[in-house]
Symmetry: C2
């Protein structure tokens, strides 16, 4: 396309953005208008994509990090013929694929859900990493960011990883329109301020007038030809560009244009230009990934093994059997035991250093390209990536997260290192699976099983050694549980998981010695929860005691309620959990101080069997 | 102190670090040894502090961001005479103040809990901001970071804010020992790599040999005299410095020295040098903060007001009555309505731009200096700061967090903007308070009440307008609830909060029209929860339906269980919550699709009264 055609195309994208927001009565047309020329030139001359085959392995990838500018993206979809004008005007309406912020749940051309700012580039880095390091493909990844979102630290975690991994297949385009939601950004139109930062992080940079289509075209060309490092294009633009009443003015973020018809006229009226996107240059099929026989590690009953070790060994074995498995580490692989995988499969191991947001974002990115990521760090530090996990669930992304060093059982390191709210965080994620094994064989089985689930899957592992109580051939279906003690005259059920399973068993032994028969359930699948077994236990024993190395809110105790919150009779319940802020102490001292060791469990059991209220 | 004395002091700190870790059998001596000279020179010549008066308003502030190097800090405490040698050797033992990672809970000289890396500088920025902008005091803030943690994005959010706010009272010292936990860092000993980044973000930088005490002394002096911008000192050091067996070697992170006695001998043996710290130069008392009459905004019953608006107006009024109130915004003050405060009290309004981790860290920092911060953004985006909230609770910090745009009720913007897991996240924080008002007068009262609570206090507000149902003189104690409908023959209790309160009332009206008397409880205090009222309702009505604009896990429904999880009989329960991933739609359509509108609640009530199980 020539200069005039590109400019016309930019105006069309503006007009359609204004029309879509006007039809919806909400949305972000002004944020779309600033980036319209950037988008027009990208799609017309540089983006290589087959809209009829969004799964083509050679397709370039585009991420709209400034997800609120969705009208622009949808206007571009219309211009390429992927959607029609009628659908464009369904924007933000119930049932429409064209949501307020783009998600891949219904739109096959969207790589990842955006709308929480500062996430598009981190995920884009993951996609580019997959292309360059895992697939050795020559597709490019283009990420369009707003300027406001550059304040998010996650952007700099991403910048660091991209430069370190020499991702010259990655270009970020920053739409520097100088205006955030509530007013000017910190750096206004100072393109240098952004360029200095990206350069310091090892990027090539280009500064450009974002409304000069020829200059933008050259900038993209420069990005295309830059080798060995990613490129950041800093584009000076005007928010609301092209409509005098809103252009470069404050107070108009996130609002339809006040006079849409006039604005459309000022922009030259509707057009119906067709945007020809070049197809993927590489015709390659998706690279073959071997699959072979999975030989999980096996342990004998009675051995003492930390579940984190079992995770590491199982993941290494899984990586041997499945070529799609990728491990990501937050610079604690020696502690989480992800390093076992690194030793056997270094080509599929991504060291993300201490940058948990980027670790999870990279997992989302490689998952978007069909890989099966396992990202692991301390359970406590996964809280750092909570917003990324939340957005991954909006994307419908399938990723495995593993949090080690759960609970007070880690001992001396103290509360900063203890995962005590991870179960609450992960359970509240839509569609998640939450697993918490108590022994090595169970851990290995669950590590393998989680690979094939949908959505966010979380496995919680422990630091210290614990006895192997299951044989290596035992099966552990997700959503199941194990009844470890049971008799016809149980007066109480103890529900435990992870480190509290051995404690519950010891408590059951003690109570049995006093003539009190007790059922013990290993609730290794915290979500989904085994409703049938819990209901049966409730009916047969009348009361349940849950025991968890976690704060009392949102964890195992609350999970058990899932079996009863449908109006059926509820058993008497007691939740034993970590109610005080721990300090430093040995693991045994910690469990006792928290009231979740065998002695405390037995004491609670005695009270309950005596029909007492447990203070 | 002269060169030799400073070097001797550094050796003493090393020896005591080795001794403390040896006595504990765990800990991080090698990470302490790299920074020992940096610490010795700082405390001997630059840090101005009265250890007998840690609350002295003119004291400098020191933050050990690399919290795992706690032995070094405790060794310094011994050297200044704040603790004795006997206490030093209680390191990491049960009951000791000297935890694995430092916390201010028992140690008055610790400003903030560390141990989750990348948090010390962000909080230090908050303290420096308080000193410079709020107090106009001349104390300095010194933050000692590791090099690994510079990979955390939060460091760059902090760097951006510090430079933007011209915090020349802030110095970060980066202990570049080149080794992370599992191996070399990305940049090794390349001090320039760090310096370039800090310079690009607007900092003054100094590169120095971290074991040359005179050079370190000069570097601190340069930081002292640098005006208008913060200073980063990049110090080249060796991990395990001074002991050949561990110095600059991999695989020795977080482990006591293998041969402690030999190592101590190699370091020249124990010493008992006394470290003279200069007192605070400013004798100023804590600046007076006015307190006056609080005139909260008032609304009449029947008005339609969004609770976010009530928050903004109440906060502005509170700021007028109390000079200690500070508001922090994540670049959405026009949406959260924090801008109402900004207009009246611009001198106590901190714009943090889109950097939620830094917003919360700055709140922790100003709270450490005795201010009362309110940090607000969309509820969904507070997930970004989860780890900071977690660590704030470890600190025992008192901060107010406000999350707007809760739930599907926001409508068209879609799931990326909807807080649907915030209640779970905030409830699981130790010692937190979680409030969720349904009308404007209630909101205003709670905004005022939360200021004086301990710990993390969270208020959830809504985007859309809702009817004022309480008079302006009604009181709402934290931990209480309101029974809005009640009779002697209620067959069911609806428990609602926030936007579901009007829905529950409408459902109760509908059911009453069918002859089914229903109790309605407004559970505005989600944590602590009003156990007495819930228990009475359970006894009198037999079954409870909880209704929440939140995912089913960890929110209102689980909170209600708190009233019953002590072994007492439990009522029949149903939890209505957001179980599917929403898309775009109007607020009314969203509530209906989620099954939490009046019609859905009434339908559930009919089933329950009919003794049915609710599928």
């Amino acid at each position: 396309m020539n200069t005039g055609e590109l400019e016309e195309l930019g105006q069309q994208l503006r007009v359609d953005s204004v029309r879509a927001a006007a039809a919806a009565g909400s949305g972000h047309p002004t944020s779309s208008m600033s980036a319209a020329d950037l988008m027009a030139v990208l799609f017309a001359h540089h983006f290589r994509y087959d809209f009829a085959r969004p799964d083509h392995p050679g397709n370039d990838r585009f991420v709209l990090s400034k997800g609120h500018a969705s009208p622009l993206m949808y206007a571009a979809y219309k211009a390429v013929g992927a959607i029609d004008d009628e659908e464009l005007l369904t924007f933000r309406k119930k049932g429409s694929r064209l949501e307020g912020h783009p998600t891949p749940r219904q739109l096959p051309w969207v790589e990842t859900a955006t709308g929480s700012l500062g996430q598009g580039l981190p995920v884009g880095v993951g996609i580019a990493l997959a292309g360059k390091r895992l697939e050795h493909a020559d597709y490019r990844v283009w990420v369009l960011c707003g300027d406001s979102e550059i304040a998010e630290g996650s952007v700099w975690e991403a910048a660091e990883q991209a430069a370190y991994e020499n991702l010259d297949n990655l270009t970020v385009i920053v739409d520097v329109n100088r205006l955030g939601q509530r007013g000017p950004t910190r750096h206004g139109h100072d393109l240098d301020a952004y360029a200095r930062r990206f350069q310091a992080f090892g990027w090539h940079t280009v500064e450009v007038d974002g409304h000069d289509v020829d200059a933008v075209d050259r900038a993209y060309g420069e990005a295309d030809s830059t080798k060995g490092q990613p490129t950041a294009i800093l584009a000076r633009t005007l928010k609301g560009k092209g409509v005098e009443a809103v252009q470069d003015r404050e107070g108009l973020h996130g609002k339809p244009l006040p006079e849409a018809e006039e604005a459309i006229a000022e922009l030259g009226g509707p057009r119906d230009l067709r945007l020809p996107v070049g197809g993927p240059s590489a015709a390659a099929e998706r690279p073959a990934r071997h699959t072979g026989h999975l030989a999980l590690p096996r342990w004998d009953k009675g051995e003492e093994v930390a579940t984190r070790n079992a995770f590491g060994e199982a993941l290494a074995a899984l990586g041997g059997a499945r070529g799609d498995v990728v491990a990501l580490d937050g610079e604690v692989g020696d502690s989480t035991r992800a390093e076992f995988f690194a030793k056997e499969h270094p080509e599929r191991y991504v060291e993300c250093y201490i940058a948990e947001q980027q670790m999870v974002a990279a997992a989302v990115g490689v998952a978007a390209r069909g890989w099966t990521p396992y990202a692991s760090t301390f359970a406590a530090f996964l809280t750092r990536a909570h917003d990324f996990v939340r957005m991954a669930s909006v994307s419908g992304s399938g990723i495995n997260l593993v949090g080690s060093h759960a609970g007070v059982a880690i001992g001396q390191d103290g509360p900063s290192q203890m995962g005590l709210e991870d179960l609450a965080m992960m359970r509240a994620v839509h569609g998640s699976t939450v697993l918490y094994p108590c022994d090595a064989n169970q851990t290995a089985r669950l590590v393998a099983a989680m690979a094939d689930l949908d959505g966010i899957r979380y496995l919680r592992t422990s630091r210290g050694e614990s006895p192997v109580i299951y044989g290596p051939d035992e099966e552990f279906p997700v959503g199941g549980s194990k009844v470890l003690r049971s008799s016809g005259h149980d007066r109480l059920t103890l529900v435990a998981a992870g480190v509290t399973v051995p404690e519950a068993l010891a408590a059951a032994d003690a109570l049995e010695g006093e003539g009190i028969a007790v059922r013990v359930i290993d609730l290794y699948s915290v979500k989904p929860v085994d409703r049938e077994t819990l209901r049966t236990a409730a009916e047969e024993t009348g009361c349940l005691v849950t025991v968890e190395d976690h704060h009392p809110e949102g964890g195992l105790g609350d999970a058990v309620l899932d079996a009863f919150a449908d109006g059926r009779p509820v058993p008497r319940l007691v939740r034993l959990a970590v109610r005080d802020m721990p300090g430093s102490a040995s693991p045994e001292e910690q469990l006792h101080a928290a009231g979740i060791d065998a002695e405390s469990i037995a004491a609670c059991g005695r009270l309950l069997v005596g029909e007492a209220i447990v203070a």
